[in-house]
Symmetry: C3
Amino acid sequence: MTQELFTINNLWMMVATILVFIMHLGFASLEAGLTRAKNTVNILFKNTLIPAIGLLSYAFVGFNLMYPGGDFAGGFMGFAGFGLALPEGWDSSNYNAGYTFYTDFIFQAMFAATAATIVSGAVAERMKLGPFIFFSILYVGLCYPIVGMWKWGGGFLQTMATPFYDFAGSTIVHSVGGWAALAGAFLLGPRLGKYTPTGMKAIPGHNIPMATIGVFLLWFGWFGFNGGSVLTADPGTVSLVFVTTAIAGAAGAFGALIASYMKFKTYDITMVLNGILAGLVGITAGADQMGVGESAIIGFIGGTLVVFAVVFFDRIKIDDPVGAISVHLIGGIWGTLAVGLFGNLAGFQQIISQLIGIGIVGAFCFGSSWLIFFALKKTVGIRVDEREELEGLDINEHSMQAYPDFASKD
Amino acid sequence: MTQELFTINNLWMMVATILVFIMHLGFASLEAGLTRAKNTVNILFKNTLIPAIGLLSYAFVGFNLMYPGGDFAGGFMGFAGFGLALPEGWDSSNYNAGYTFYTDFIFQAMFAATAATIVSGAVAERMKLGPFIFFSILYVGLCYPIVGMWKWGGGFLQTMATPFYDFAGSTIVHSVGGWAALAGAFLLGPRLGKYTPTGMKAIPGHNIPMATIGVFLLWFGWFGFNGGSVLTADPGTVSLVFVTTAIAGAAGAFGALIASYMKFKTYDITMVLNGILAGLVGITAGADQMGVGESAIIGFIGGTLVVFAVVFFDRIKIDDPVGAISVHLIGGIWGTLAVGLFGNLAGFQQIISQLIGIGIVGAFCFGSSWLIFFALKKTVGIRVDEREELEGLDINEHSMQAYPDFASKD
Amino acid sequence: MTQELFTINNLWMMVATILVFIMHLGFASLEAGLTRAKNTVNILFKNTLIPAIGLLSYAFVGFNLMYPGGDFAGGFMGFAGFGLALPEGWDSSNYNAGYTFYTDFIFQAMFAATAATIVSGAVAERMKLGPFIFFSILYVGLCYPIVGMWKWGGGFLQTMATPFYDFAGSTIVHSVGGWAALAGAFLLGPRLGKYTPTGMKAIPGHNIPMATIGVFLLWFGWFGFNGGSVLTADPGTVSLVFVTTAIAGAAGAFGALIASYMKFKTYDITMVLNGILAGLVGITAGADQMGVGESAIIGFIGGTLVVFAVVFFDRIKIDDPVGAISVHLIGGIWGTLAVGLFGNLAGFQQIISQLIGIGIVGAFCFGSSWLIFFALKKTVGIRVDEREELEGLDINEHSMQAYPDFASKD
């Protein structure tokens, strides 16, 4: 490989890295926008800290859990030691055709924090800050990279006869977050006043412009999330991935628009926003394997599913203030399955492999996150007390307000 | 051409694609910020859906209308069929020296939605949602690519003896949106209470930080809009375009600052913001043909013009809540003319060609958008009823509020 | 050098340019968010105008002051004439291995405005607009490039026996802004009601989401600020710089979190946000000279320092509404010193050189900014009158409000 091509590939991977970085602002904006003003500082605090946790824990332990190297290949877990050690030829195509060692680390590190960011939305407005931070460190530092190793680190999901396929992480990233979001939301219970004897009460987000900014930034960053997962700047593959990613997001908007209009007879922007995200989550597993029409179908169904999923979780009284479980878990499962149903890899064997991956990752992630949340619940407690929840977490956990100059409605 | 150079060129075009994508968030933020809180969800809903409409319709029909291929070259309209069909060698410099087929499509697709986004601002706070969506699909899916073909698809504006010149779309993109904005604002009529017997009433935008975020994101994205229009990563041309784009925006700020201070004796940030945009629209037609000083002059005049245009349209009672017509139509005409007045192509013949392009595109766009709006007006109606306008479109069309936790002033 | 490598290098420098550009939106959002709603338009107005001032003044005079060319090398000041003159071979590696002449100019121009942007925050909520604009033009157009020449233009700080080292501008950019911020805040005096006989009164920022958006955008842009300062796309160096930049920001968050929790017993998001920035400012001087662990230490100490600095400046009654002096001046000094303490260049001689650079730049910048502010104070005045300050600058200087639709708290 020429030095020129290596430099181009590495440049794209670095640009993709920053695009994934800004997704954390996307999550912060979306989650803050879809919750109440009295809990805004708390959401922003968590989502500001999470990338910091992700970067530091991934440097200290995560990267070497996720990519333990050849000796552990095919196994369930391996570890190449604490901290980062520069290998020989780290800054040339001897290390990798697409990037240097440091690019490899930083691109992957930006992904790592995503898992906790997804959880943050689902447990919003009622979870104690300290236990959430503790959970995030464990989940991002240990659980995420262990699962990641199974597929991307050369583990058993990769070495199966028909390898589990997950291009950029419908399962390996989004479902990992989604399962923990489900465990957390279940163990916490719903927000006060959400489900009453007389029915479900909508608790609208306080700042729709923020939520919209969030979704646009996430879509923007997704071009790096999926496009960077090509791991080189190969013109054909990356540009195909751009098209499938864009089309799936667009189709997700329409899927959610139509489904929600038929169901609620109104134009619900939060559904459209979540529909875009579900379309994007849906295409993530097979973004390099689909054509334009298939991407549109996958995105459209993803957008439709999110509407039904939001209704479903409300019916079973799992309170997810921002719809994170519907988007990332349901969307992630759908996208992973879709690789077996559409595109180059479609086939019965592939469907089985996809189901195996979904199942095993789900069992491990739901189980491990449940264990951590449950242990925290039984010891320090995970839920703020009633007064604090009613007054808002901002005043109680942060001694401040997000908008001190404005009068509130009540 | 080496594979390396092709890969670099394609990489830049992909990066430029995402920069143009984020301009849609810029438009959404700007338009939401410059209108009232009670119509914010409506604006955001439209501006979120528009890129989705643009991507899907451009894949289905627009791209093949805009680039119908050789047989139609020189004509007024052609069509290469529905959907996207991969040509031979689509991912090599055999297709194009600067990009793959998919990059070509996705870069152009991001431009397509811009036309409708511009209209969205001008018809804000009083237009029905359904008809607007219908208009957008027709205008983005058919009118925009037909006009685009005349110049960029090798049509008659390109094959004239002295070709009409429009580097990145002062006319082909911005005026296309601006003419439809004019037709829509005229047929809708002004917002209730805007022009009273005792004079014009200012209706201030509800969120200046949002508007500021919007303009910065638009400026940011414009480096991809103009820089990507080089169609390769050629260092000399792209870096020149960066400089002319930056300088014209900066000079536009000062043009509007000075003109508005002289006229209103106050420092009006909305004028400065629109001045930046007018400077950017102004340089767009000739961004690769100007020097630093010429860019400053073009931007400065663009910024000045926007102030007078805003006053003018208010005087003739065309109510444009965000100044979209002043920025994109007046700025677009100015920028297109400027190619004949300044820079490498300046000359009498060029001025004539520019006037021909401005006139024909204007006649077609104003005419076709008028027809669509007029047909909608006479059938389903385009304007919300009085009660709905007074209460706000958010409650009535979307059953929600953008900021439910905050008390409103009155 | 091959044309391919030159094109790649130039592409990265152009992308880095836009990343630095968007930092101006970061500053605008951060400063607006951390001040009161009644002064928001004023802050945004200043921060929108500053990049325009930077671009125009740098084209007119700054670039040629900062890079006067060989004849002046080693001296204290030189000037290559007004405006930009294209040198021979400006768009090839004959001009520079990493970029064209225009890329060189535009990348540097984006840095130039940063100095005034930093000041904007420190003098917020009480400084007159006109004098601030006047100050900005002088400081950005003359003082910043003169100092920059000392190091990056080949001046005496560069030609010392042990050259002063400042990779991307902890001193040359951030302290330059920080010293002027100190001079301005001192000469203006504190905001009314900030320091009372009974103690210091906290004046909380009015929009924490805006402040959070600001910090994320600054972090995002910093990858271009530091990464672009490599001046090529060299894979090894740029990816190392990405890692050190990311890790220092993350460690800064934790440094400030721990220090502020120990000091105030609450989770203060504004401290965490400023801690991230202090970590980033801290790594800027040596981002290419540190390892991962050293970056974490530098960032962590930077984040800790900012908490103590904020308390310190309040104790000596220097009122800095957004913490700009603590972040950029204290963080900049710390980062510059850290080059002598950690990493490849650590050593006694280097510490001495760093101290020399810090001292001389500090004396010149504090002195010159003091002189300008003092002259303005004694002539036109720099502080708005008491009524205007109480009512807010938005109504008085701009005849408008940032959020006219919302009821304010009191």
